[in-house]
């Protein structure tokens, strides 16, 4: 039974009492979206973060490259200073602190674990310097804030979120027959208006109906036409960093046909086509399967996904209901399946079960001392670097499909080396008093396992408390939940 607290959350702290009704405990957490646990002072909106992004991009792409075109060393120095000036090395850790505080310090770790699921579903991959400035804020505003609404709302908002439009190139998706497409300057400057199918394809393949939805290349192109014109507002000075809106002069005129349905010319069609995609049977099946794969097993069964699909249908995709159904299925299959935990969830579980959440994430006090322009110290950069080194940085997925939820993708020599090293590092997050406390591992084990004696016996073979940490957090019982 205690395994359930690791399956849907990050285990229990050494002194924590196990909730008497685990299912209700977990389900209650997903009903509403509380304020962030993190109380640091540098919490900015996605829009506010864009001004730093613009400075970074404009300076490095235009000013610096021209200014230092014959001085590579000067360029490198100037680039480093620019990163200090824009906070490029600070913001990611700051956002990770907010993200991880939800998992290991808040009263709703179950909600946090599902938040991480959705941020991966609506991945912003590592491109255009979005990880440094925008992705964390996008995760808070467009994903977490919509977790008490319908899936449709989340898709609608994520689709036209500025980082999503940027990362899937929809700003370059311009109707060839649109007003803008027919303008003389395009011929003169050799900038013809063309469709960019990237975002349209991912909206179907990754975000909603998946390839099981049976769309064709023509459907992708037609959806791309519907999406033409959704981009940052263009100004003479810069076409970057301004809000996303529908620019009718770039919209491909005429009716469009996606999956056999006709959509009118204009602004309103995007909303309607998203509604149709979200209500396609393949969409709920796809999401239900992904939820089960994340929480329960690599190979979800029809029986597993059925109650989630049913909850979806009854609630019109209301996410709290979908989540509650998924939690219930996880509860029912708790003893039957153990899911190998991805590196980020394993790290949070390790810190949480150790009881070192006073040291990780970096306390607000320390993060608040940051000032623009000054080199960010190593220990403030560590959480950001660690996630990359562990193979799971939520802002740095290489591709728009995010990270895998399949166990074998997390089994390799190097990844297991990382777990050994970081189990040791988790131990060193402890204050000295805990490091020398010879009962600490017994507490962790008795709180978190139904079969403490077997595990205690193995861990007792270690020579030091540090070694006990490395062994305990690499036992199959901990790697899987």
């Amino acid at each position: 039974m205690k395994n359930f607290f690791r399956k849907v959350a990050f285990g229990l702290k050494p002194e924590e009492k196990a909730p008497s009704d685990p299912l209700t405990w977990a389900q209650k957490q997903v009903e509403t979206i509380p304020e962030l646990n993190w109380k640091g002072k540098h919490i900015y909106s996605e829009k506010e973060m864009r001004k730093y992004w613009i400075t970074q991009r404009v300076e490095e792409d235009r000013t610096l490259r021209k200014k230092y075109k014959n001085d590579p060393q000067g360029l490198r120095r100037a680039e480093k200073q620019l990163e200090n000036d824009t906070g490029a090395k600070y913001w990611p850790t700051n956002e990770i602190c907010m993200r991880h505080a939800e998992g290991i310090r808040s009263d709703n770790p179950v909600l946090a674990k599902l938040w991480y699921f959705w941020t991966n579903h609506f991945t912003i991959s590592d491109t255009q310097r979005l990880p440094e400035f925008s992705t964390g804020a996008y995760h808070r505003e467009f994903i977490r804030a919509n977790m008490d609404k319908t899936f449709e709302t989340m898709v609608q908002e994520a689709t036209v979120a500025w980082p999503m439009i940027m990362h899937l190139d929809n700003k370059d998706n311009i109707g060839p027959k649109s007003e803008s497409g027919r303008q003389e300057w395009r011929r003169r400057e050799k900038k013809p208006a063309t469709l960019n199918e990237n975002h349209a394809r991912e909206l179907m393949e990754l975000h909603t109906i998946s390839p099981d939805g049976g769309y064709t290349q023509e459907d992708v192109q037609e959806l791309a036409k519907i999406m033409t014109g959704w981009r940052p507002k263009w100004t003479k000075k810069s076409d970057q960093g301004t809000d996303i809106r529908f620019m009718s002069d770039r919209h491909e005129p005429g009716k469009k046909n996606v999956l056999g349905k006709t959509y009118k010319n204009g602004r309103k069609s995007l909303k309607i086509v998203i509604k149709d995609l979200v209500n396609h049977p393949s969409c709920r099946e796809f999401i239900a399967t992904k939820l089960c794969r994340y929480l329960i097993t690599d190979h979800p069964t029809k029986e597993m996904i059925a109650p989630i699909i049913k909850a979806w249908e009854q609630s019109d995709g209301h996410l709290p209901e979908v989540h509650k159904a998924a939690i219930k299925v996880a509860f029912e299959y708790n003893d039957k399946y153990k899911k190998f935990q991805n590196p980020e969830n394993w790290w949070l579980q390790t810190i949480n079960m150790s009881g070192a959440s006073y040291a990780y994430p970096v306390p607000e006090k320390k993060m608040d001392k940051f000032q623009l322009g000054i080199l960010v110290s190593e220990n403030l950069r560590e959480p950001n670097w660690r996630l990359e080194n562990i193979g799971y940085h939520p802002y740095k997925a290489k591709q728009p499909n995010g990270y895998s939820d399949i166990s074998t993708d997390w089994l390799s020599t190097e990844l297991i080396i990382r777990r050994l090293m970081y189990a040791k590092e988790a131990f060193h997050q402890y204050k000295i008093k805990d490091q020398i406390d010879d009962t600490i591992h017994e507490k962790i084990i008795r709180t978190n396992f139904d079969n403490p004696d077997k595990i205690l016996k193995i861990v007792a073979k270690a020579k030091s408390n540090e070694e006990k940490h490395m062994i305990l957090f690499n036992l199959p019982e901990v790697l899987r939940a």
């Binding site: 990237n198 990754l206 895998s404 089994l411 020599t413 190097e414 297991i416 990382r418």
Partner: protein, 388 residues
């Protein structure tokens, strides 16, 4: 552009004829032969890397992103001028390009395409193993694969006990800790974890945590140096797999200094550093590239290109027959292109891969065709491309 399909077919007939006069290959079983695969993720633009010479259909569609000062390879094709490492191989008669080729995937999704370029199949996500892994299994090469990345790529799956190398900072735990975990994994029937622990124990003995160079240690150019050290050992791995990301240049693909070039240069550094550091073992090696698809001929409004179809394969190493651009060129007139927009693929890339593995693993082509690629129709190109 002087080449035509007729010329190609004529040329093919000649080389087949000549092949008959080749002396039978000497017994090669005592030599350790290596295969290096570089996965180019995002869709490598074969016509940015290896542009066709004097084709107006091509030039007029790519006005702003045309590569200048290219290196002429033959009367029909040129090489991107920044591919210095590959050019060395070419000049030494150990560099080959296969052009107008692709895996048999004609949709335009990266994820499906990359899944298929690794699995070698035709239905996305259907296969759970990779074509290299299956061929290694056929050749009985357990424990001989090395991935230069954190997770294990699908390409190498299908045979257990592959290793990976992606150095970090820090020290491994002491031997007793590793032994204890190893015994726990054995007792809990955690086979995969047990295999990983065996590699870690071996790694500990070899002291290969860090490799060289501070911040550069995880960069491909360093990984290539380290991989070469392993590959040239007689008991080292037989297969190494690299990944280069970022070829998906929908915007700002640029010309000779653009974003596509940066990715090509990263690929070239791998080839160059392998060539330099493999030393004698370069003679017994095939390095080859794979990608999910090429890119559209026509540039888009953002000076980028869209997902396409036909592309090119780079190959280098002493097991290459000679420097050549091997192609059955389909042409770039509208009706010659795939769906009127992409370079067509006239050679199934898997024919090249099956032939390469037949050479490196000393396996009969037909066996690879049957057991690795499900008996699908593939062409044996071993005589044309490799020293057999």
């Amino acid at each position: 552009m002087k080449i035509s399909r007729r010329d190609f077919l004529k040329g093919t007939a000649t080389s087949l004829f000549l092949a008959g006069f080749n002396l039978p290959a000497l017994a090669t079983s005592s030599r350790k032969k290596n295969l290096v695969v570089i996965m180019l993720r995002g869709g490598m633009d074969g016509l940015c890397a290896v542009p066709v010479i004097g084709d107006k259909n091509f030039e007029k569609r790519r006005k702003s992103i045309l590569i200048e000062d290219t290196i002429k390879l033959n009367s029909d094709f040129a090489l991107h001028p920044r591919l210095i490492g590959f050019n060395k191989c070419w000049n030494e008669n150990t560099g080959t390009i296969v052009h107008a080729t692709s895996i048999p995937y004609k949709q335009r999704s990266h994820f499906e395409g990359q899944n298929l370029m690794e699995s070698g199949g035709k239905v996305p996500y259907q296969e759970k193993t990779g074509w290299v892994g299956r061929a290694m299994k056929l050749a009985n090469l357990q424990g001989d694969g090395l991935a230069l990345s954190l997770p294990m790529p699908l390409l190498l799956r299908g045979i257990p006990k592959n290793n990976n190398y992606f150095p970090t900072w820090g020290r491994l735990p002491r031997k007793d800790t590793l032994d204890l975990l190893k015994s726990v994994y054995a007792d809990s029937s955690e086979d995969e974890l047990l295999q990983m622990m065996n590699f870690i124990k071996k790694r500990k003995d070899e002291q290969m945590m860090g490799g060289t160079g501070g911040g550069d240690r995880q960069k491909n150019k360093n990984l290539a140096r380290q991989a070469a050290k392993y590959l040239r050992k007689s008991d080292g791995p037989r297969v190494a797999v690299f990944e280069v990301n970022g070829f998906d240049t929908h915007a700002a693909q640029g010309g000779v200094d653009g974003t596509h070039t940066e990715c090509l240069v990263e690929m070239d550094e791998i080839i160059n550093n392998l060539r330099d550091n493999l030393q004698e073992a370069y003679k017994d090696t095939i390095i080859l590239t794979v990608t999910e698809f090429g890119r559209t001929i026509k540039q888009n409004g953002g000076n980028g290109t869209e997902h396409g179809y036909g592309t090119a394969i780079f190959m280098a190493g002493g097991l290459l027959k000679k420097s050549q651009v091997h192609t059955d060129w389909p042409g770039l007139k509208r009706k010659e292109m795939y769906e009127g927009r992409d370079l067509n693929a006239t050679i199934d890339a898997r024919s090249v891969y099956a032939s390469a593995m037949s050479t490196v693993f000393d396996l009969d082509f037909k066996r690879i065709q049957k057991d690795v690629f499900w008996g699908e129709e593939l062409q044996n190109l071993s005589d044309k491309l490799f020293k057999t």
